[in-house]
Symmetry: C2
Subunit: 314 residues, 2 copies
């Protein structure tokens, strides 16, 4: 468990819960009750030099910060209702660039039917920081990350890896998939893959009582961009895809042998398992045709809490 | 109307509304509907060098960022339910300082019964940015800022001015007052005084169809710290108090001649008017015993949108 995850766990203990908080710190989003209606809320920033570079099209940055939040709502099975936008602008930020950023925010907000209802703007000597908070409601149950059971099969809503070649700016949050999965009793848990498959899988398994998993090397869907990055070498592309960040696909576990109903938003590929859950901790990669399974370390993209960043800005 | 207010107005038009958004961009907080339950949501950052200096006790900073948001909820008549915390830490931020900041957040959160339910943390080369989003519910109606009527009397929940001497870090959000005022039909509109009495009053009056107001120089309650800053000169202290920021008291208007019921959280001082609303635009100061009323300019604390800041950091 890295810096960010340890920090999150310590915050759970530090802040504690309350009766009207159904799901607090530690899941993709929180669930709070208001007179019998459950709201799902989350927030996530994007920061110049961390989540994008100065050369990035700012409309894409605006869409990204919204979609990062919507992806968290999707992983809870929520329908987005509203967005709050907090802008910390660097001194001398050009009005044209601000307009581009806002257009991107609006584009992603409209695509999801989640209006921007408020926010704040300030200017500093530091880099551009755009923080979005998002809220939604639950048409069905909340998809928690801590419901994984031994024997479950594992699935992702889309391919992995290569996000730095553009996907991290262009991804579509899996909102329809999230709501649909939350309606299926066979689905036990889900998480937004934002820090890399292995890291987010490890988080789910740890949250579910310390389980393990075995992934099938031939079954993990790899994004074309990951193959490009790996010079066409599928083995290298797979290693990269396992630990890449900002995939923003849903990872879920479902009861073994219980197929999900036909219809709905899932691709055929998403219905086929990429691995299965084990009763004991540890992550393994299975190569069909090889005798021995390979032990994997849960590494991926984590924002360090403290002085160092573990991966360069994109 | 300054940069920040013009920007907010342009954002209203730019982002538009939606059917389930009862109050969108432009009030102290937004009101959104979820299956018949209204949620009130807002967000507000504090930034090193803008809202506090490096010498400031970080526990006070943590409490301040929470209480700024709670003050916005108070001005809507809302009871706080949850907080989201987004931390952008400067590189090398000491764990001890982070702990102090979090202690302050927790202290203010607990005092209001609003648990921290989620958030995010990242590290940058820039200054410390702490953004809190807050959500609550409405026991009665929402206290909008656009309901002022000509002839209304004006009131504040506490004294004004001198906040830089410590009040801006130690203020208590007027949550009980806000909920109580929202229950009184005689109360027409309310706003959180964060940018200075004149500026926030001008905002209310403009939102209410372009009204004006006359303030009574002898009736405006002045914080002792404002007198200290003015070297004991009440006239100078008054000028300062009219435009000072971060008072975080409620300013409201109520029907002329309709006293509010006894009991409740209001002080005797808050029940006495500080001025009255006029049917035509303009702000005026009335000095009893002087023949002529004095024209006032709505100046106060505004975060510029663009390169310059209009007031130094505290």
């Amino acid at each position: 468990m890295g810096g960010e995850r340890r920090f999150t766990a310590s915050l759970q203990r530090f802040f504690g819960g309350a009766e009207h908080v159904t799901i607090g710190i530690g899941d993709d989003a929180a669930v709070v009750q208001n007179r019998g209606a459950a709201s799902v809320v989350c927030c996530d920033p994007v920061i110049a030099g961390v989540h994008f570079t100065l050369e990035t099209d700012l409309a894409a940055v605006g869409a990204k910060v919204v979609n990062r939040n919507l992806s968290d709502l999707a992983a809870m099975g929520a329908v987005p209702d509203w967005l709050l936008l907090s802008l910390v602008l660097p001194q001398g930020f050009a009005p044209k660039r601000l307009s581009a950023l806002l257009r991107g925010v609006r584009r992603a907000a409209r695509a999801a039917g989640a209006p921007v209802v408020g926010g704040d703007v300030a200017t500093t000597s530091g880099p551009l920081v755009v923080t979005v908070s998002a809220g939604g409601h639950l048409p069905h149950r909340a998809l928690r990350r801590d419901g994984v059971r031994p024997g479950d099969t594992l699935h992702t809503s889309g391919p992995l890896g290569g996000s730095r070649l553009g996907h991290h700016l262009r991804f579509r949050p899996a909102l329809r998939e999230g709501v649909w999965l939350a309606r299926q009793p066979a689905v036990h848990a889900a998480i937004d893959v934002s820090d890399g498959l292995l890291l987010d899988l490890a988080t789910m398994l740890a949250a579910s009582g310390g389980l393990g998993a075995e992934l099938d090397a031939t079954a993990i869907p790899i994004r074309r961009a990951a193959l490009t990055l790996a010079g066409g070498d599928r083995e290298r592309a797979l290693r990269h895809a396992l630990g890449d960040g900002e995939d923003h696909v849903l990872l879920w576990s479902q009861a073994h042998g219980r197929a999900l109903p036909r219809g709905g938003p899932l691709s055929e590929r998403a219905r086929r398992p990429i691995g299965r859950v084990l009763a004991t901790p540890g992550l393994w990669l299975v190569h069909p045709g090889r005798d021995r399974r390979e032990r994997l370390s849960p590494v991926g993209f984590e924002h360090a809490v403290g002085p160092a960043r573990r991966r360069p800005a994109r």
